[in-house]
Symmetry: C2
Subunit: 344 residues, 2 copies
């Protein structure tokens, strides 16, 4: 009895706090009924997104998809943030090279390191996967512990600045795509990054910048080596079993890391074509593909056949109409480009 | 005005349904306040679990851990379900061998296939990673599409029966561990399987059996090959870049697939020691390690130094007291062993 009296107040407080929580749920749910994509101009692109989400999330829809199967995959460079003048991770690698060469003269012997020091981007982006870039990334991304690498990435992000926009790189995400991520998550989608960039690089900031937790990031990886150093567990980054999460590697990475076929795929280049096809061709579930076309030289960049440093878009753009993929014209479909930017 | 009248009812219905949903949340939350681990006898093991969860989840606790960092990893064979008389995936592989040998006589040439046909388990479990078992699994797990493989796994699960318990293998999960999974999830943990078993094998049933979605399953993998067959995307299973998610491979797999250090780790054998150490030694966050000790020959199996077919437990058991890992005595700590079983 006495015990009951003691329990009563806390139970009431408990119930009250839960009710408050529930009211906030109701509030946010009502908000969701309003426009979730304010940075998207009305038009076919925005309409196709909303139509697909309604089609797979409304219980009474014949194309209803269970939440557990609502997997959405996003390329990162050129899709969620820019990849010009060079991919941001390449900028990190170049800064690392410049920081380390004075202390490690042997590094300078590598022709690709020389290309970095001479700013010879052309040489670095030759080859199927921009082999030079990968080489430089490999040099700057291996041999240290995963914790040391994560620290060097966050230190760089805090100090580095985009050469054109004079902002921290992580402040240059696309506002319309951020709204799209929120909109999909609010509709029960699980959003993953599937990028040619390094998983260890992106996982340092993906949750802070996109709300995408580390475990939802699929990227290029080398297999780390586990060892005890001074009685402490360490994972040392290596170049063993280097997995390049690009082109045909993207469906492979999706299967290996997510284990489920996506129903929605968002990319911007020929490097995303394979995962767009994997998502939308012969998928037993309803599916959606979207390509961000960089057409806005004023507010961002304009490129496709003639790419910036990466992000070539030719065959995927040709395939779009045949495959029914939505093509976003950045210039006309987006009210604003960057998070926190005005409408200009 | 007229529009308003039309909207009003649906809005009300909407609000009502949400309120109902909220009441059910309140109901389940109140339920959670009661014993969430009814199949665990009171004792040090159960107390240590509850104490750790309270310690990292109560806002006012100095050791509070944000939900996003509440990563819990579970071995599967011997930790969530039995691994005797042989690991269930080995039983699948053996049945596959027997099913295929008549149609593919060349298979019979392999000495490990012969070992299967002769029931020579000893030969199959020789070597650091039970190399024979892996070989047979490789033979039966490659060369077909990932969809074909998934179908063969579910077909097998529907028809196969455990030789001793005469039940479908997926009906033999440990009830106390199922309650532990639910308890951790209810407390904001993200639960992952980290098993030496094949990711493609486990992902077929992990969500149905444990409520663990495919993307939260880390296991041994071969890199699939992406190709278009008759204009349809296909992923063909191969043995390339075979990654064995066992022993030192487990911390490596955790880093590569989850990208975050766990704060809780649950295993049962020396194969789990590396991930127990990675989770609990020098972790900047509070951490918890637990070993399921198979001591119940009546209700399940009793083995450690002398393992069943796998699951040897010697060095990890010796390390437990030094590392502060909880050791579960299956016989005395568990009220019941199997899901749906009585207390006997």
């Amino acid at each position: 009895m006495n015990g009951k009296q003691h329990q009563q107040p806390s139970y009431t407080a408990f119930k009250v706090s839960l009710t408050v929580m529930c009211l906030s749920i109701i509030g946010s749910a009502i908000a969701k009924a309003e426009d979730s994509l304010p940075s998207w101009n009305s038009g076919p692109a925005k309409q196709s997104i909303v139509a697909f989400v309604d089609r797979v999330t409304q219980k009474q829809s014949p194309d209803y998809v269970e939440p557990t199967d609502r997997i959405a995959v996003f390329d990162n460079d050129g899709t969620l943030w820019p990849e010009a003048p060079i991919p941001f991770q390449a900028a990190f690698a170049f800064d690392e090279v410049k920081r380390r060469v004075p202390k490690e003269p042997t590094l300078a012997a590598d022709p690709m390191v020389q290309a970095v020091l001479q700013g010879d981007i052309g040489k670095l982006i030759e080859g199927k996967h921009h082999d030079g870039l990968l080489k430089v990334m490999a040099i700057t991304h291996a041999g240290m512990s995963t914790d040391e690498f994560a620290t060097s990435v966050s230190d760089w992000l805090e100090s580095a600045e985009h050469p054109r926009f004079k902002k921290a790189y992580s402040d240059l995400t696309y506002q319309p795509m951020q709204e799209l991520l929120d909109y999909l998550r609010a509709n029960g989608f699980k959003c993953f990054i599937v990028s040619g960039g390094g998983a260890d690089f992106m996982r340092v900031w993906s949750e802070r910048v996109y709300g995408i937790p580390a475990e939802n990031v699929v990227g290029s990886t080398g297999q780390a080596k586990y060892e005890m150093r001074d009685g402490k567990p360490q994972l040392i980054k290596t170049l063993d079993h280097l997995f390049v999460d690009d082109k045909e590697g993207k469906p492979v990475g999706i299967h290996q890391f997510i284990g489920r076929r996506p129903i929605a795929c968002f990319g911007n280049s020929d490097g995303d074509q394979a995962m767009l096809e994997y998502t939308t061709i012969d998928n037993p579930l309803p599916s959606f593909g979207l390509i961000v076309h960089h057409t806005d030289v004023e507010r961002e960049y304009a490129y496709d056949k003639k790419p910036s440093s990466s992000g070539k878009l030719t065959t995927a753009l040709e395939a779009a109409s045949k495959r029914g993929w939505t093509v976003v014209d950045m210039k006309s479909d987006w009210v604003r480009v960057f998070r926190g930017s005005g409408s200009e």
